[in-house]
């Protein structure tokens, strides 16, 4: 028994995969740029917030080969990432799909229920719409982090010409740190996201490629936790026809 719905519009699917390419190149080249001076304190200063001050990122995690090359990639790929973000956010806005990720009252409680379920404190998967409350928070946090990354990036690219943006982050040194830290949080969310796709809902891969999603195999239908009830048809019959937030 399957219950197929068209879950992701082609605009969402295309922008998602363009994002994967653009973010891989942006973080790789960004880390190569960072390696030219792998500290946040100015020369002669300490920077207690970073316990790995002076520690470079392993070269295999970087992209662009050398500082100049990485800068060229970074300053070219940023336009693709920005254009992609405009298409994605514009689509969410015009199509009303921002409702799937916008925070609302009860999200904190729902997120807590999800955590309880994952920790075996709660037996049954909480009822959810398109995304569970944890997913929703992550997908909302990503564009917010993106905005911080873009602004702090402009702040360190043009600290004089766009000095008013740099001033939002105190100064060049702090803007550079915030640029790095918000990238690290975004990357962490992306890693957890990929982990959860394979550990909880591998069927969602299909929905991000062809757009089709089988609700009879949703984590809620399978009562799936990471690595638990990973495959096979769900035991519970799907209740709702619409694939959106109630």
């Amino acid at each position: 028994m399957s219950d197929l719905v068209k879950r992701n519009h082609w605009v969402i699917r295309v922008t998602h995969w363009v994002n994967v390419v653009a973010i891989v190149i942006m973080t790789g080249s960004g880390l190569r740029i960072f390696n030219a001076y792998p500290s946040f304190g100015r020369p002669g200063e300490t920077f207690p917030l970073n316990p790995w001050e002076g520690q470079a990122i392993p070269a295999w995690l970087t992209f662009g080969g050398w500082l100049g090359g990485a800068r060229h990639w970074h300053f070219a790929m940023m336009w693709l990432l920005l254009a992609n973000a405009f298409v994605y956010l514009g689509f969410l806005f015009l199509h009303g799909e921002w409702r799937h990720i916008a925070p609302r009252r009860g999200d904190a409680r729902d997120a807590l229920e999800m955590i309880k379920f994952y920790l075996f404190v709660r037996r049954d998967h909480p009822h959810q719409g398109k995304h569970n409350a944890l997913q929703k928070s992550a997908y909302f946090a990503m564009p917010v982090l993106g905005l911080i990354i873009v602004l702090s990036g402009l702040a360190i690219w043009k600290p004089i010409t766009l000095g008013f943006i740099t001033a939002l982050f105190v100064n060049y040194k702090w803007a550079r740190f915030i640029h790095f830290a918000s990238m690290a949080v975004l990357l962490l969310l992306a890693v957890v996201h990929v982990f959860m796709v394979f550990a909880v809902d591998p069927y969602s891969l299909r929905s991000m490629v062809t757009g089709w999603y089988d609700r009879a195999r949703s984590p809620e239908a399978r009562n799936a936790r990471p690595f638990y009830h990973l495959f096979g048809p769900g035991k519970q019959a799907p209740v709702r026809r619409e694939d959106s937030q109630p």
């Binding site: 100015r42 020369p43 100049g68 043009k158 004089i160 060049y172």
Partner: protein, 236 residues
Amino acid sequence: MSLDRRRFLTISAATFSGTLLAACNKNPRGADKLLTLAESANESIERSIFRHDSMDRVPASAKVAGKDFPKYFISETVPMWDTAARGEWRLEVSGAVRRPVSLSLEALTKLPRVTQKVDHFCVEGWNARAVWSGVRVSDLARLVEPTADAQYVDFGGFDKGYHESWDMESAMHPATLVAYGMDGRMLSPAHGAPARVHSPVKLGYKNTKYLTRVVFMPARNGGYWSDQGYEWFAGT
């Protein structure tokens, strides 16, 4: 408007293989073309938003880097002007100008002096503060009267063949100095004595040290690091 599947797959495949190729340090020619295109597009955006009233606002209470200010030169040893062999050091200001001048250090220090505490932004990612004293390049330009042809300025020195050329707008920025003083003392050999370019509006490598010539030019002529693949514009 819809993207048909074949086209989508072709584009994705091209993008992915481009990425994989690029991962091996040597960029494919297509990627290099794209990067060059992006660099020139970025340069026109950067030049169009450049303003002479965008200033570096370092708080008066901010500490200067002092002895921690990194020292840099391309010669094997600290470049020193050898008066015995080369005569008195002079700064030649020439090129597409009506009245070229040759200034001794003493003459330079008698020109209107500007003292400013500003950032030095290195391409590597660090910044360092110092108090710089010197003459605005725009004041030197008033002295020599550049012709209408003068669109670029080349700053060259005696640290081997080091030089970097600038766009006129950045050179004429009020914070762009030919500096001979640092932190209240005359410039030391490690930091470019007797005089160097210093400006917060360009990355460090554009700020030629051990300066001997300022040449106004109708065309740009690259520079030591620009010729090795770093951005030529390098504005901040």
